[in-house]
């Protein structure tokens, strides 16, 4: 049931094999063509003028000085938006370009196209905007609860309030309370927002773009351009990471507007600093929890208030709130639940999708609470979790029955039984502070912590979540060959290999080509919610089986496959695949079968902390994850390592610092992400308890490790320091100055 890491490379075809991805070597050697590498002769470069203020009226915009710059072809404002002026994933509340006011620092106001990127930027700086600065609304708790605060959005200051109400017993022998805070994490993808819009002869536009979901982009772009959807054609360009940050539009409409206006191809590439203003971030969270248990540590109730700051526009905040509410107690059996989850509008940077999507914030809080409860009950962190763990047949807080395997207690026991690492050597690279040599061992204490997370896989709450695949078998060079065409975005997760391997397995043909993703085939849905292996994998499988059925019928007369294809021509089938239906949460009680699949991951973290300086070295991370079915072991391990590293980043260093609505650290100099010296080796155990509802029994795998590694590391740091540490990321100040006090 489990595999160990470090296995030798498999060389076979089909699912279960570690096929190497075609983009891997290219990326490592710097030869991969990203969207920022797109080029056409005679193309123009776009630049965006953004608001320096988090909240202001715009009294006037004078584009005249920019238009006078030689080399400038167009300068556009909201008045030039050809169609609808607003777009958005859930509510169309975000202006394509600011109209009369700005609601966050970095909000786009005007666009420039010029024959050189530098010229475009210089010209944008010359646009004269007169602002009347307003006081920014920056405290999300005030925004949520104080009715005297002026509304930031046309929807008020509350995006969504989702209660969860179960049972009526809210007293217990053992009660622990805590307040927790999660800072604003960024997806920090390495390939900044970029793309190329090419005006077409039919009056439409061809857009080459790095995105997570081509069709939802198309749905939002076309009305703003006042074009029918078939005149806005999107092709996926090389994506340099996504993690949720490419769910919302960035420069798509802007580039298209400039291309249509100038009649020339227009390219945008955001710089690193602009990128921090060009996409949504993970919602920062303020959470108050109360856990009640009997003296044996069995949970009686959980009460929680969760406030998630969505910033200036809606983005995907409603769904993020839904996740935080429905998964707010974690994978534990809790007979009485009282949760209120809120999403707010403020003048802070807009927040939306990021790997883990609302479940991450709640996980940090409920796992911190489980450790407090363990201490109060005199139990080990593992034992308290085992005693309350869900299993198949358990109820979620929403009343939904977990109807597939969920062996959490076994996973915890397996994790606990893994051997612990020995003491670190005195090599500086193994000590807190690294080669910067802050200790030779002085002040260093070891801590161990555990974290458990549960994540919904695929879109929830009644969303019509499907994918489309077109599979074609034909002769190429006298050999049978498979073409797989979907609109699913390969964002670095390895979906190309999964599609290849499924086609190989179902058709028995090794030679598979993945056609570039574009909008000439039906929607694949988003590359998010850990859903593409499930949904697009399911679609490729269904289309492959349909092709296989026709081929079997054609070869029933004894002809060979090659003969059939030569005589009958290519065989092609297109299929849509949907997962089980989900249902909305009851707006008053939160009850409902809102999720289609649930995935578990558990982490153990071992850390060495220099308690005097507050510096931390994560010595080892061990994890047990149930993925139902392993499709590509190598790619899967990479996903677990990467998800774990992103959780480590949130625990220890990754935070967009915002003061008075302004971002203080929009650079990789001061927004730190883990290096290889920060991310330790991992011990992995990967389980395959199949979900009978999913293709091959698979369970989405990309997000769950991001949930559980953060609380495991935080718990280990608490164990090493004895400090409560109720906020992530944990800063050196939080430890060093507290120890001093």
């Amino acid at each position: 049931m489990s595999i160990a890491t470090g296995r030798t490379q498999e060389t076979g075809q089909g699912i279960g094999q570690s096929l190497l991805r075609p983009d891997g070597t290219l990326k490592v050697t710097g030869e991969f063509a990203y969207s920022s590498d797109l080029w056409l002769d005679g193309m123009l470069w776009g630049a965006t003028l953004r608001s320096p203020h988090p909240s202001a009226w715009i009294r006037s915009i004078d584009v005249g000085p920019a238009l006078k710059v030689p080399g400038v072809f167009a300068v556009l404002t909201h008045e030039d938006v050809p169609g609808e002026k607003f777009y958005g994933l859930e509510h169309k509340d975000q202006p394509v370009l600011a109209i009369d006011q700005v609601r966050y620092q970095g909000e786009p106001i005007a666009l420039v196209a010029a024959d050189h990127p530098e010229t475009a930027r210089r010209a944008a700086d010359l646009i004269e905007v007169v602002y009347e600065v307003r006081e920014a609304v920056t405290d999300p708790r005030k925004a949520a609860f104080d009715l005297t605060i002026p509304p930031v959005s046309v929807h008020g200051n509350l995006v969504r309030h989702q209660p969860v109400r179960v049972g009526g017993t809210f007293t217990a022998d053992v009660v622990v309370t805590g307040e927790y805070e999660v800072g604003m994490q960024d997806q920090a993808f390495l390939g900044p927002e970029s793309g190329l819009a090419v005006p077409a002869e039919d009056g439409g536009v061809d857009l080459y773009i790095a995105t997570q979901w081509l069709h939802v982009d198309q749905d939002q772009i076309a009305p703003c351009l006042n074009l029918p959807k078939d005149k806005v054609r999107l092709t996926l360009a090389g994506v340099g990471g996504a993690f949720g940050a490419r769910e919302d539009l960035s420069m798509q409409i802007h580039a298209s507007m400039l291309a249509l206006r100038t009649g020339k191809p227009v390219k945008f590439v955001y710089g690193r600093e602009e990128s921090f203003f060009g996409h949504v971030h993970r919602h920062p969270a303020w959470m108050r929890y109360e856990h009640g248990a009997d003296r044996d540590g069995k949970l009686v109730y959980v009460k929680a208030e969760i406030v998630l700051d969505g910033g200036a526009y809606t983005s995907s905040s409603p769904a993020v709130v839904g996740n935080a509410a429905s998964l707010g107690v974690g994978p534990y059996e809790v007979p009485n639940v009282f949760i209120d989850a809120y999403g707010t509008y403020t003048n802070n940077p807009p927040c939306g999708a990021m790997r883990g999507f609302g479940a991450v914030q709640a996980c940090y809080a409920y796992e911190s609470q489980m450790d407090r409860l363990a201490e109060a009950c005199g139990l080990s962190p593992v034992e308290i979790r085992v005693r309350n763990a869900v299993s198949q047949g358990s109820l979620l807080a929403t009343g939904q029955v977990i109807d597939t395997p969920a062996p959490l207690a076994d996973m915890l026991r397996e994790l606990d039984a893994m051997p612990l690492p020995g003491p670190s050597s005195l090599d500086l690279r193994e000590l807190p502070g690294g080669v910067a040599q802050t200790t030779h061992g002085e002040g260093v204490r070891r801590g161990i912590g555990y974290g458990v997370g549960i994540k919904n896989i695929c879109f929830s709450e009644g969303f019509d979540d499907y994918s489309t695949a077109r599979v074609r078998v034909e002769l190429l060079g006298d050999e049978p060959h498979v073409l797989v065409h979907t609109a699913a975005a390969e964002v670095g997760q390895g979906l190309i290999m999964v599609k290849t391997q499924i086609a190989q397995t179902e058709l028995g043909i090794d030679r598979v080509t993945i056609v570039p993703a574009d909008t000439t085939v039906g929607s694949a849905g988003s590359s998010s919610a850990s859903r593409q292996s499930y949904v697009t994998g399911g679609a490729v499988r269904a289309a492959s089986l349909a092709v296989k059925e026709r081929l079997d019928a054609l070869t029933a007369d004894g002809r060979s496959l090659t003969q059939v294809l030569a005589e009958e021509g290519p065989v092609e089938e297109t299929r849509e695949y949907r997962h089980r239906r989900t249902f909305p949460m009851d707006p008053l009680t939160g009850q409902g079968d809102s999720h289609t699949q649930l995935a578990l991951c558990v982490h153990r973290a071992v850390v060495d902390v220099d308690v005097e300086l507050g510096l931390i070295k994560v010595v080892e991370l061990a994890a047990v994850q149930d993925v139902g079915k392993i499709l590509n072991p190598l790619a899967l391990e990479g996903q677990i390592h990467g998800g774990t590293a992103q959780g480590l980043g949130l625990a220890l260093m990754e935070e967009i610092q915002v003061r008075d609505g302004k971002v203080l650290n929009p650079s990789f100099t001061d927004y730190l992400i883990p290096t290889i010296l920060d991310m330790p080796p991992m011990k992995l155990s990967i389980l395959e308890n199949p979900d009978p509802h999913a293709p091959y029994g698979l369970r989405g795998a990309g997000e769950p490790p991001t949930l559980s590694s953060t609380p495991a590391i935080a718990a280990a740091v608490r164990a090493a320091t004895g400090l409560p540490l109720s906020r992530v990321p944990i800063r050196p100040d939080d430890i060093a100055l507290a120890v001093l006090a």
């Binding site: 690294g434 910067a436 030779h440 002040g443 100099t669 730190l672 060093a736």
Partner: protein, 284 residues
Amino acid sequence: MDFLRATTWAEALRMKADRPDATPVQGGTDVMVEINLDKGRPKALLDLTPVAELTEWSVESGNIRIGAGVTYTRIIAELADRLPGLAQASRTVGSPQIRNRGTVAGNLGAASPAGDSHPPLLASGAIVEAESVDGTRMIPVGDFYTGVKRHALASHELIRAIHVPVKRGPQYFSKIGTRNAMVIAVCSFGIALNAEDRTVGTGIGSAAPTPRRAVEAEAFLAGNWPAGDLDPAVAKRFGELVAAAAAPIDDVRGSSGYRVHALAVMARRTLGWAWQELRNGGRS
């Protein structure tokens, strides 16, 4: 922006005299980043990479004369035995790619209070060799830093080399960052013991408008030079005096309170390591 390229040192000096507004560029790890971020755009760049004589170091009367084009990677590989403090600091600079390009002279030219090479240069009493068509000036490094990102060079001068005394006792460098590699200093500290003179040199980084020495701490230790083992009370007091010499601010990288505290800890610890090495006859 004009791009000037000098192939000899004499040519570089002439170019700088003609164009005092030109910013010299060597590894480009600082200058090019600033330009790309649009933070100040020089009227001209003076590329010094073709000037071969800058890429050499030599021994001159007890000092290592490090040419302005010698990279951090070479300091780590070639000078760690004689300039351990500077080599340790070099090891913490950026990534391997940055260390392959960046230079100590560039660190001085940028004069950022967070530059990693400043504390060991201060601690060991380095001297900056500045040159122009008018001649050469030897500037003690303590006089070189005049403000945040400002230095004592005249507009027509270039850094020719840095003269760093060969170690006369144990040296250590220590730097706080919020991750374990590739990080700008929250604060840093360099110490150099002079076993013969029974004196100590210090350098504080990223905790004041300029890199600076902790003069009172130096005097205190010289006046209380331990006869045998290091008295923990002396080490503690030394740390406190180092911290007292700092004037840090709160910023995105850390609070002033943390910087003061961390300096005291680093000073105490590095003194402990240095003293231990001294007692062990030079072995760390």
